[in-house]
Amino acid sequence: MAIEVRDVNKSFGATPVLRDVSLDVAAGSLTALLGPSGGGKSTLLRVIAGLEQPDTGTVRISGVDATRLAPQRRGVGFVFQHYAAFKHLTVFRNVAFGLEVRKRPKDEIRKRVMELLELVHLEKLADRYPSQLSGGQRQRMALARALAVEPQVLLLDEPFGALDAQVRKELRTWLRRLHDEVHVTTVFVTHDQEEAIEVADTIVLLAGGEVVQSGSPGEVYDNPANPFVMRFLGPVTELDGNLVRPHDVEISQDPVEGGSSALVSRVVKLGFEVRVEVEVGGHEAWVQVTREQADRLDLKPGDTVHLRPVPGARSLVLAV
């Protein structure tokens, strides 16, 4: 295991932020710490990096107890949401920083920094200052800077949180490809479930300072541990006291076995997918169908339809 966190507790004043958190991160993996804001995910990342001290519990990095080690001795690379660029240094000197404080020979530094700048596609901007870069470029610079010291683990705190939607999507794909090239054990914090599912190979869900569930994106999406996880990872709707995914509901005009009748209240066409809003058993629900299905059924507000979960659909019983 590259990172082993055991029974970590941490409070800020009287507010507990992490409660008995244990976590294993496999070497070479790309793990997402996912959860709502205030769930403790950033604090956990900072505890791993040594930027916060846990009240109790231990952190091991590559088998070494790092709980009381200073951040500079842990062999971690850390990327901050707001880049933490060294404003008075050029892009080159920013990336070279970790090597300069290690007093590496000048030629070696130059070679390594230029390699990294090529990796993050900033080789032409080596002499610029951070204030002359866009947000996405600054974040790529910060990533190259963290990679320069060859960390055992790379930690990213909401790395794309301050960027606009377009750049965020590009960087996501790019991070995934970068990880496939560099293979460094990576943990990143995000509150965006789509980002976690798309990029990570392991998702750890944190809420209220506790690990709620962990597993591959497919596992946590298909077998959510509780309604909270199911709601957090994707769209849900309620059918007969069960929580189901709206794309897992079958819709038909004729009564079906085990189905319940519903009244169509609205049909919203969102390009390829169509959102059918219905009233079933006195409360509102919605079903996601394809455009082709919607056209075939010719649904209109006021129609009566019959709904049931598709065979094999995952659903969770809601406590009454």
Binding site: P71, Q72, V76, F78, F86, K87, F97, G98, V101, P130
Partner: protein, 265 residues
């Protein structure tokens, strides 16, 4: 109409309080040409006063820079009990009259006090000597460096320092490579202010120095002493020199002031 009245008042205010007195001093100084000006400035007493002033101000600036940077980092980056009290103490010299500071120092370090007596037995004379004048100057100029740096440190935040730590930099390396460059303009501004205040200090130094001519006389004390002894030329020459130093420092502060904030993102 109101605008014109306000402008007139402002001009008259500056005219009578600043331009006229300073102009008169300069006119008086150079009234008989440059010869007498340089003659009185190069007299042994004046040269000695220059030396004393530079020594005292120089040492005070060094002490206040180390203290000011230390206190600013302590107040901005660390949480500890008594933090607000320390912050208030740093500002105290601004509120206390320099004469009071001088008297208080005599009470503590004077020959007949326990501390002063002990130091005297080790051969260190504080009052009526350079150490006392340095302490007095350090005290009155104490908040200037710290207060110039504190807002910039706050705005800088600690993320760059944390990033430096994770990249392997020690505390000292982080301070020298990240924190110091981040506050360099504010520090320069604070230094110039501190230097100006130290050069111009009169009250506290007057009390603790004993005003011993050719021994503990600074430039400001020289101006006063010459004036009392009807040597107007000498007084005005020294006063003009002090005014020129003030103008230069003022220009320096103008140059240094806005820079730390303009290179933010």
């Amino acid at each position: 109409m109101a605008k014109h009245v306000l402008r007139l008042i402002a001009v008259a205010y500056v005219m009578f309080l600043l331009v006229l007195p300073v102009g008169l001093i300069i006119w008086q100084t150079f009234g008989d040409g440059l010869g007498p000006f340089f003659e009185s400035l190069t007299s042994p007493s004046a040269l000695h006063a220059f030396k004393v002033t530079l020594t005292v101000a120089g040492l005070a600036v060094v002490a206040n820079t180390i203290f000011g940077v230390g206190v600013a980092i302590l107040l901005v980056r660390h949480e500890f009990p008594g933090k607000r009290l320390l912050g208030a103490f740093v500002d105290l010299p601004m509120a206390v009259s320099p004469v009071v500071v001088g008297l208080a120092l005599i009470l503590v370090y004077g020959r007949f006090s326990p501390v002063g007596g002990l130091l005297e037995s080790w051969g260190i004379q504080v009052i009526f000597s350079t150490p006392g004048m340095v302490i007095a100057t350090v005290f009155v100029a104490m908040p200037l460096v710290a207060r110039s740096i504190i807002p910039v440190l706050e705005e800088l935040g600690d993320e760059q320092e944390q990033a430096a730590h994770t990249l392997g930099a020690s505390r000292l390396q982080t301070f020298l490579r990240i924190t110091l460059p981040g506050i360099r303009w504010a520090l320069g501004y604070g230094l110039v202010l501190c230097l100006a205040r130290s050069l111009g200090e009169y009250g506290a130094v007057a009390v603790v120095s004993g005003r011993l001519v050719d021994q503990t006389q600074t430039l400001t004390l020289l101006v006063e002493e010459r004036f009392q002894n009807y040597d107007q030329q000498g007084a005005f020459a020294a006063a003009t020199t002090l005014a020129l130093i003030a103008v230069v420092t003022l220009l320096l502060t103008k140059l240094l002031r806005p820079k730390d904030r303009s290179d933010g993102n």
